[in-house]
Amino acid sequence: MNELLRQLLFLPEQGTAYARSVDQLHYFIVLTTMIGAAAVFTTLVAFVIVYRRRHAAQTTPHVEPKPIHEVLFVGVPLVLFLTWFAIGFPQYVELQTPPKDAMDVYVQGKKWMWKFAYPGGPNSTDVLRVPAGRPVRLLMTSRDVIHSFYVPAFRLKQDVVPGRYTQTWFRATAPGRHQLFCAEFCGTGHSAMLGEVVVMPAAEFDAWLADQRRGVVAAQDSAPVPSEDIDVRTSLVEQGRRLAAEYGCFKCHTVDGTQHIGPSWLDLYERRERLDGGKTVVADEGYLTRSIMDPRADVVAGFQPVMPTFQGRIPAPEVAAIVEFMKSLRTDVVRAPPSQGPVYVPVPSK
């Protein structure tokens, strides 16, 4: 039944359990509306035939509805519509609430390509590789105008907005390849801003990711990164290190645990910080990003509010890189041999 209706409605395959449940609602709505509309139309046609005009001077009785008619006219559709909403809205909330154990992938849209950055450094362009059966959270931002990340097979779409992050998530059921579209108009290359989501068996994905990480580290060891622009091949962490140096972060922040003008970045990520006002805050991505953009909002106790704002001076993707670099600065990781990439730490979702 599911398969028949899916084919009839020209829907793409169902790459996630979420897609399946959305389609169930789709079928329910299509069937009820078709039946309802057919009923209205049959009535209309029947009236036209039965009550056709028989002579030119024909008169008609004055008919007024009883209250019950109008109550039915209002009540029946209302119950139906609200039922749809009651089914659909929880599904939407589910889509807006990534599970806590989701793997994070940073997505960056720019005219006219998609870039993906995986935990531990690997990057890719236009091809997003994900493990089957595991939840993946996408933290997305844009470099220029609004784009929209759209995978029809997952029934999933989320706008990608410059200057801020939006999130979405999915758990692909089976290995396969699915098309990725940009769905928000973004210029002449809009219809060419295509990509692919490649779902791999989980074990294969792990192997691929480990392989990529090694490759990234090897690339870092062998060739120093060219410093002009962000290169896709460079790991996000390495970009962050370079950008932090460029922007002069190290004038006030150390990476070895020594306190200087600002807090040290070592082990900063996920640390519980006491603020000047007596409140405490967990230094997650949100806090770190905010602190770069608006340093005087939440000053850690014991430090002076002297840091300038970087609002408008660092593009959002570069902030992401710097934050990723901060995340990589962990006592256990920094001292690890260089051949191992930084260990991935899951992000607590809000």
Binding site: L11, P12, V22, L25, I29, T33, V40, F41, L44, F47, V48, Y51, R52, R53, A57, Q58, T59, T60, V63, E64, P65, H69, E70, F73, V74, P77, F81, W84, F85, G88, F89, Q91, Y92, V93, L95, I146, S148, Y150, A153, R155, K157, Q158, D159, V161, P162, G163, Q179, F181, A183, F185, G187, T188, H190, S191, A192, L194, Q311, G312, P315, A316
Partner: protein
């Protein structure tokens, strides 16, 4: 109902068309009927222009790759198609033509409340159109009619003239709205209580309320984008802390109610035509009347359903999602009451009625897909795909055009005193109705498949349905040509219509065709509601000025 010598005589005496002569008398007229006719000419030209752009778009999409234009031209085409169709045709058309012409006639008034302002709306329309056309000729915008920031603030195309043109057109729209509201409040003839008003007036009144309250927000938003585009003040600029989603809120606060500015006048026409051709009073007059106001009111509470995937909060999405269901409700009430009106009627299937059946088809299916779209989780899949395109073309394009054509055929004899040939009208009507279905049903399926809108090229699996859609569009074009030729021909060679060719009991038919310059010789007095058919309809020639 054949015209008698008496109605020939009526036709030949001076009427609003012939009382004054010369171009000057038209350009300086304050007669609401002449202003309606001018809007007919202007908006018909806009429809032709917008339709021309639409055909070019469909031809471009005939093949997956480039067909007849490059990507930049294509982007300009769909922007211009949207701007022209929305701001120059759909918003001004029915209120500008039929609202102007018939609202005063229906309430027994000599004119609208502010005739000079009414004339000014014609010139504002011309000015706005001129500015927009200037922008089109000198580069044309490529932003889509939605002007989303930051694309619209950073594009290199000439978006500012188009924005200003839309602003001026918005001002005209506001003035029309104010005029109709004041007219309905103050110029109703003695005896014409609110509950005796024709349903056309109720719906136009509701439209006017939206025009007055929503359009200023669009005006300011367009100005902000212009300022941002030209000076870079940063109000929507993410690099300076600006919020592009705020633009979307402000834009849709106008543009969602605006779809009701386009559809409510269509519903206004439907109520009149159905009552005349079913020869029966409206089943549930009050329900239909107040549902117009309900749509106008609740229509303001649902704009956020355009933002489900934009990064809007889940809380707002829930609020907007549930409120959107209530707008559908008012439309459903109307559809049920219209259908029930046919019960025990005396139905005559003429061209206007056929168009109305077409309208009901598009409204029911377009409306149902609208409710489906408002179902939050389904919208995530459909947002910005061809499903949305097909949905609003079903309701706004096909639906509104059906009502527009129905109104044109229904009131043509009243406006110009001549009847058109019935058979070509039916042929044209069927072509347009089936053409629209053939154009947009494939687009629903394309949307289901996941084809995003505003795509210049597309993967090959979308090809067959796109071909079907283009084929349908050509049917619509042929249908329009037949309608146009038929109506224009009737002006010269049509039969003289007589005051009431349909045997209607709508108030506006109590005037000669075409009406006198002063509408009524005295002040009409109303003693009952419109469309009461318990008494036989007087023979056409006997209709006098008594109301």
């Amino acid at each position: 109902m054949s015209p008698s010598p008496a109605s020939e005589a009526v036709y030949n005496r001076p009427n609003y068309l012939t009382a004054d002569r010369g171009v000057r008398s038209w350009l300086t007229t304050r007669d609401h009927k002449r202003i309606g006719v001018m809007f007919l000419v202007l908006t018909a030209a806009a429809l032709a222009l917008g339709g021309f752009f639409a055909l070019l778009i469909r031809i471009e999409l005939l093949t997956p790759g480039p067909t007849i234009m490059d990507a930049m031209t294509y982007n300009r085409m769909f922007t211009l198609h949207g701007v022209v169709m929305i701001f120059l045709f759909m918003i001004p058309a029915i209120p500008g033509i039929f609202g102007n012409f018939f609202l005063p006639l229906m309430i027994g008034a000599q004119d609208v409340a502010f005739p000079r302002i009414n004339l000014a709306t014609v010139y504002l329309y011309l000015l706005g159109a001129a500015i927009a056309v200037y922008g089109m000729v000198h580069g044309g915008a490529d932003t889509g009619w939605t002007f989303y920031t930051p694309y619209s603030t950073t594009t290199t195309t000439k978006v500012a003239p188009i924005l200003l043109g839309a602003f001026v057109l918005g001002l005209g729209s506001i003035l029309t709205g104010i005029n109709f509201i004041v007219t309905t409040h103050t110029l109703r003839a003695p005896g014409l209580t609110w509950h005796r008003l024709p349903l056309f007036v109720w719906a136009i009144y509701a439209t006017s309320v939206i025009q007055v309250l929503a359009t200023p927000v669009l005006g300011m938003t367009l100005l902000l984008v212009t300022v941002e585009n030209v000076f870079g003040f940063g109000i929507f600029d993410p690099a300076r802390g600006g919020d592009p989603i705020l633009f979307q809120h402000l834009f849709w606060f106008y543009s969602h109610p605006a779809v009701y500015i386009m559809v409510l006048p269509a519903m206004a026409v439907v109520s009149e035509v159905i009552q005349t051709f079913a020869r029966k009073n409206m089943f549930g007059y009050k329900a239909v009347a107040y549902s117009s106001l309900g749509i106008a009111f609740v229509g303001f509470f649902v704009w956020g359903h355009h933002l489900f995937t934009s990064g809007q909060s889940a809380f707002d999405s829930g609020v907007f999602g549930v409120l959107s269901m209530f707008v559908g409700l008012f439309t459903a009430v109307k559809v049920f009451n219209w259908t029930a009106t046919l019960y025990k009627g005396a139905i005559q299937v003429s061209a206007p009625f056929v168009y109305i059946v077409g309208f009901l088809f598009y409204l029911v299916f377009g409306g149902m897909t609208g409710i489906a779209l408002a179902t939050v989780s389904l919208d995530v899949h459909w947002q910005d795909t061809y499903f949305v395109v097909a949905h609003f073309h079903f309701v706004m394009a096909a639906g509104t055009v059906m009502a527009f054509l129905a109104a044109l055929h229904y009131w043509w004899p009243k406006m110009f005193g001549k009847t058109y040939a019935e058979r070509p009208a039916l042929v044209g009507g069927f072509l347009v109705i089936f053409g629209f279905a053939a154009t947009f049903v494939p687009q629903f399926l394309l949307g289901n498949m996941g084809m995003p809108r505003r795509y210049y090229s597309y993967p090959e699996r979308f090809w067959p349905l796109n071909v079907a859609s283009t084929a349908g569009a050509s049917l619509v074009a042929i249908g329009f040509l037949i309608v146009l030729v038929n109506l224009v021909v009737s002006l010269a060679w049509g039969r003289v219509a007589g005051p009431n060719p349909w045997g209607s009991k709508g108030y506006e038919w109590n005037t000669p065709s075409p009406p006198d310059k002063e509408n009524f010789p005295g002040t009409p007095v109303f003693t009952h509601g419109p469309h009461e058919y318990q008494e036989p309809v007087p023979a056409a020639a006997e209709v006098t000025h008594a109301a």
